[in-house]
Amino acid sequence: MNIVVCLKQVPKKDSILRIGADQKWIDERDLSYEMSEADAYALEEALRQKEKHGGEVIVISSGPERVRQSIKEALAKGADRAIHLTDPLFNSGDPAVIARALAGALKNEKFDLIFTGLQSDDYGFAQVGLILAEMLGLPSATIVMEVQPEDSGVRVKRELESGWFQWVKLPMPALLTIQSGINQLRYATLKGIMAAKKKEIKEVKAADIGFTESDAISAQSIQRAYFPEKTKRTEIIEGKPAEAAAKLMEKLRFDARVF
């Protein structure tokens, strides 16, 4: 079974973030990057499926030179080969633009499944996977917690709200967006890291897949990026102690969500 995993590199979780000069996004200077968490779980799931059922894991990622680090990490963990979309044109837009680039690069690949993380740790749109599925004409399932390939397709467990789950069956090829925590992540071993040096990373430019300026036009744009604005409000809860305590509990549970 061949599985494509879409990876995104994002600023590290413990980064100290600054808003960029244009107020549209963060200042990317001096940041360290890592694989987006849900994508790391998607990769892990693909590697586990490969170990059970054989086949090939192909990782695909779009972004500048620094993205190679995350691609190599995936190869070190056991992915077989990689596709790196290096053209700045691919990365200039909204989820539809990036999905269009991924779709173009995957057009000639043979695969049974595509995994993406449920959503990225930076923008958190949770859209690229679904748009990509539509563009490739594939069935898709989101928030996937378990993957069971069968002869006629794939059974997947989806996470619903309030501790509910749902099993759905899809024909293959299909696209699944994977939830964080679905499995336990492995470490890239030192031998794996050294072996990854010999694995193929195919670079793809816009012209290679017929991606044009008009494909890079975004339908949505970020108007302003800013830190959460702190507001301080004091509320006195009136009433008898028992009533006030009940009201306080309600506020702690549903407003502050500390329980």
Partner: protein, 393 residues
Amino acid sequence: MANSSTADVDFFKLDSLLSDEERLVRQSVRSFVEKEINPIIAECYEAGRFPTELIPKLAELGVLGANLPEKYGCAGMNNVGYGLVMQELEAGDSGIRSFASVQGALCMYPIYKFGSEEQRKKWLPPMAAGKALGCFGLTEPSFGSNPAGMSTRADRVKDGWLLNGSKAWITSGSVADIAIVWAKADGERIRGFLVEKGTKGFIAREVKHKMSLRASITSELFFQDCLIPEENVLPESGGIKSPLMCLTQARYGIAWGALGAAMSCYKTAVDYAKERIQFGKPIASFQLTQEKLAGMLTEISKAQLICMRVGRMKDEGDYDPVHVSMAKMNNVKMALECARTARSVLGANGIMAEYPIMRHMCNLESVYTYEGTNEMHMLIIGNHITGIPAFNG
């Protein structure tokens, strides 16, 4: 648990000098340390327990003999990559790094360097896999800085060699399956002997009541008429230079390891100083605290530059043991001073097991002395400058 990782201590942007593989190695070992070592290490330290359960995991990760060739089951890392492994392990605990150093640099390296192909094939793959553990017997109760004076001897007999003597301060001694023991062959040239666990007349006894390196095992080794077959002599070993070559490898790892301990202390101090409020503001806002933090970062940054340079020189094969001496001497002293400064930033909290600082400080007192004392490395550099050895009697 307030163990700090080494992340983001990179003032001079040395990351840009690392290859993707080197950065990945560091990242992988760092997350291993954060997930597997940091949560248990304070408890291990207090209990005086070496966490043997980590051995298969460390082996799987590939840190045992990481810079030895792939054909013996090792990762074939370069020296900078290997150094980064040691840095991250020691950010966890010097005892765990000591275990890895001894297994790789002091046991697997001499088998690789001075052993026969049969010995390499027999020992290196299981040692890389953590299935056979090693220890290195050079230091003796009466011969520390002057190992060439050793009294352990091996005398030729009909079936091999008869080994007599004792060794002291031996990391992993009582759990080792194989001891690399250095002895004067027929009372003259120093040679290396592979002494297998269970050899008649060989006893390893654990040293108790240590106040340092409590999460690693230290032992004494005793040999009484131990019969060592000829095939267990390291054929290419000869003279004091052989064990000293091993020590150069281990000291190189220690120079990087000390950086890890220092960065852990520094990060802990920075985080604490920003959060600890006194006189209505974070103590990080006081000049005296800032002086401490700035001093630590400056010293760490200098030590990083030393490591990076020695590592690259070693990769190019263009280095001398004296370079490693300076790196070990400077970096361990720097780390110890960082630990003390960081402890003072944390005030009374600095002595608690909840923070890694006091543990690092106690560990570093051993690291300061083992693998060539600070003073001996100073004299090695003195010899390099003047051409006059100050320690040959």
